[in-house]
Amino acid sequence: MIHIPITHLISISTLMFFIGIYGFITRKNLFTILMSTELVLNAGALNFVAFNKYFYPDNLQGHFFALFIISVAAAEAALAIAIIIAIYRNFKNIDAEKINEMKY
């Protein structure tokens, strides 16, 4: 088994996290924004697994937490898509910039 140093894993997760943040802020399509959120979540999950494996190999909490995150992410994705569909029905549009009714 090839030994992968923890810094690699953390670098990957950091990269994923900030790519997600960047996408969340800059993309206009609501679906892309949702996908960016998934990236952020997965970066977190990856961190949990990595730290668990390298620092506490005897415990399994990190793994379970990652599983929880995946399932929550799935539920959240379903919810978000439902919301996006509802928005589309109302606005005929899923451009985040154009859905700005809730302002001063």
């Binding site: 943040i21 969340f24 802020i25 800059t26 924004i33 985040a96 910039e97 859905i99 700005n100 009714e101 809730m102 302002k103 001063y104």
Partner: protein, 641 residues
């Protein structure tokens, strides 16, 4: 024989229940039913008072020759500490029982009278509700066991008087009269309250029994620290007297009483002639031992205020033409008599003649003055005018009113054997023995009283032939029955032996008839009556000649010595301009300004930053992330350190 007097609480409570009932259900009942409820309630109260008086004066045993003071009921109402508590209760002693009789009797008569007088008025039910409220407050006032209870009911009679003066609230003059009465008496009550606080601070009690116990601590411990040349006790009693002077319309706080005649006439009879306005006299009588022993100079001031008021009012009464206003000034003058009698009185036995005379005059005055007002009401009812220039020769049209009014005029002028003679004579004797100046003032006022009453009488019932639009007719029997009853009382009550019942130390004493004073005073009254007869019985020009002879003095008296103008000057030019207006400016600029400033700043800053709420999801996300990053950096920095 001992009696349980605890039922006397119902004398007070029944009018209160009548007030609550007619007040709550008055809109649903037929107006006449509300009137009957109030009248029936007062009738029960009156019967109970008579029973109480009979038992108290004739059946219970006296302790060492004096009527005992009985606490018939007591409830600790507000308990602040062991020593400081405000009670509500019923105190029975000669003066409170006498007042119970006066109030319930006059109130009952006025209730019956009003059933006729107010008939068909839109606010009939409201009127009776307020009458019940007033009767309750006044009864609560006289049976008060402590000065604080008295103050509470004092304010209640003030407010019921306000409500009843302003009964015709569509009339601006009635509204302003009600306001004037309330503000003037309220101003005086400020003095009363300060006086109560000073008094209870010095003596450590509110309780009347402790305060007026002649062997008790309140009187024996002295009068406290001197302040501005007078002892604390003198100040306290003078301030309390200020409250009394305000309620009793004594000079110079009298300005509200003539205007209070804007109220319905039965109200004037009940409140502004017989009961509420004598509350001040009652207050001084209640605290009488304190006045005599701790502050004799305050008592002297009471006497002079009474004397000045009675002369002042009698002079004005000779010039007015509104019959109710004449009666109002006459009330003020007669209350002046009572105050004066208290002022010249000492304590105990013969010395207390003035006290007894004052209470006696209070009693007889209530009868004949209520009769005069109810008679005036009957005249106004028939003629629909208050001014006697619109009247004349009414004796043909109103026979009952005419005879009863004449009896009342004789009674107030002090012609024997009518009631006023006896009480006024006692007052003159008391004044003669103690203070000659006051005696001569009162002697002159006795003549003036006879003159202005008969001036009124002759102008209304004799005088010129007047053409009336509709022929005046005698009032209905609900109105004439009280008139007849009160005229019998005005003849009879003079024979009540007050010297055996109501005296300063509650012990009976002998009085002698002083013919040397009685004869000149009756002669004075007869001179007054004959002058009035000469001037006004037939239409002639003597009175105009006299008026032009008096010239300026007549005009000054006609304008009530310019007191209203003086008050207006003081309030408008001094109080409003130099106190109220700066306060108003302070209120507008500083208080309101601070609040408005805060609001303006909030508004301004939110205008500026509202753009941040753009509705753009990603702007919020950016702000959130950058905030998180900043916090993370700060934390990193702190941990590094």
């Amino acid at each position: 024989m001992q009696f349980d007097f605890s039922y006397t609480i119902w004398i007070v409570l029944i009018p209160f229940l009548a007030f609550l009932f007619t007040g709550i259900f008055g809109g649903k009942l037929k107006p006449f039913i509300s009137g009957l409820i109030g009248t029936a309630g007062l009738f029960i109260s009156f019967s109970l008072s008579v029973i109480t008086a009979y038992r108290y004066f004739f059946e219970i045993e006296k302790t060492s020759g004096a009527f005992q003071k009985i606490i018939a009921h007591n409830t600790v109402w507000l308990k602040f500490s062991e020593n400081l508590h405000v009670d509500l209760g019923v105190l029975l002693d000669p003066i409170s029982i006498m007042m119970l009789i006066v109030i319930t009797l006059i109130s009952l008569m006025v209730h019956i009278y009003s059933l006729g007088y107010m008939k068909g008025d839109a606010g009939f039910s409201r009127f009776f509700t307020f009458l019940s409220l007033f009767s309750f407050s006044m009864l609560g006032l006289v049976v008060a066991t402590n000065i604080f209870q008295m103050y509470i009911f004092w304010e209640l009679v003030g407010v019921s008087s306000y409500l009843l003066i302003g009964y015709y609230y569509e009339k601006p003059s009635a509204v302003s009269a009600a306001k004037k009465a309330f503000i003037v008496t309220r101003f005086a009550d400020l003095g009363f309250l300060i006086g109560i606080l000073l008094l209870s601070y010095t003596t450590g009690t509110f309780d009347f029994l402790t305060l007026t116990d002649t062997g008790g601590t309140a009187i024996l411990q002295g009068s406290g620290v001197p302040f501005l040349g007078m002892s604390t006790m003198t100040w306290a009693l003078l301030l309390i007297f200020m409250g009394g002077a305000g309620k009793s319309a004594m000079f110079p706080l009298h300005v509200w009483l003539p205007d209070a005649m804007e109220g319905p006439t039965p109200v004037s009879a009940l409140i502004h002639a017989a009961t509420m306005v004598v509350a001040g006299v009652y207050l001084v009588a209640r605290l009488f031992p304190l006045f005599v022993f701790s502050a004799p100079n305050a008592l002297e001031i009471v006497g002079y205020v009474g004397g000045i008021s009675s002369l002042f009012a009698a002079i004005i009464a000779c010039t007015q033409i509104d019959i109710k206003r004449i009666l109002a000034y006459s009330t003020m003058s007669q209350i002046g008599y009572m105050m004066l009698a208290l002022g010249v009185s000492g304590y105990g036995g013969e010395n207390g003649l003035g006290f007894m005379a004052s209470m006696f005059h209070l009693f007889t005055h209530a009868m004949f003055k209520a009769l005069l007002f109810l008679g005036a009401g009957s005249i106004i009812h028939a003629v629909h005018s208050n001014n006697f220039s619109d009247m004349g020769n009414l004796r043909k049209f109103l026979p009952v009113t005419h005879i009863t009014f004449l009896i009342a005029c004789f009674a107030i002028s002090g012609i024997p054997p009518f009631a006023g003679f006896f009480s006024k004579d006692e007052i003159l004797v008391a004044a003669f023995e103690h203070n000659k100046i006051l005696f001569f003032i009162e002697f002159a006022v006795a003549g003036l009283t006879a003159f202005y009453m008969f001036r009124l009488y002759f102008n209304v019932f004799w005088g010129k032939e007047t053409h009336y639009h509709s022929t005046p007719h005698e009032s209905p029997f609900t109105m004439t029955i009280p008139l007849i009853f009160l005229s019998i009382a005005s003849i009879g009550v003079g024979f009540i032996p007050f010297n055996e019942l109501v005296t300063s130390d509650a012990k009976p004493f002998e009085i002698l008839t002083h013919w040397d004073i009685a004869v000149p005073s009756v002669a004075m009254a007869i001179v007054g009556i004959s002058t009035a007869m000469l001037f006004y019985k037939k239409e002639n020009s003597i009175s105009t000649v006299v008026v032009s002879f008096l010239g300026k003095f007549y005009r000054v008296a006609l304008n009530k010595f310019y007191f209203d103008e003086l008050y207006l000057l003081i309030t408008k030019k001094i109080v409003f301009r130099f106190i109220s207006e700066p306060i108003a400016v302070f209120d507008k600029k500083v208080i309101d300004g601070a609040m408005n400033g805060i609001a303006a700043i909030t508004n301004f800053s939110s205008e500026k930053i509202k753009g941040m709420q753009s509705g753009q999801l990603q702007h919020y996300a950016f702000a959130f992330v950058s905030g998180a990053v900043v916090i993370a950096l700060i934390l990193l920095y702190l941990i590094e350190k």
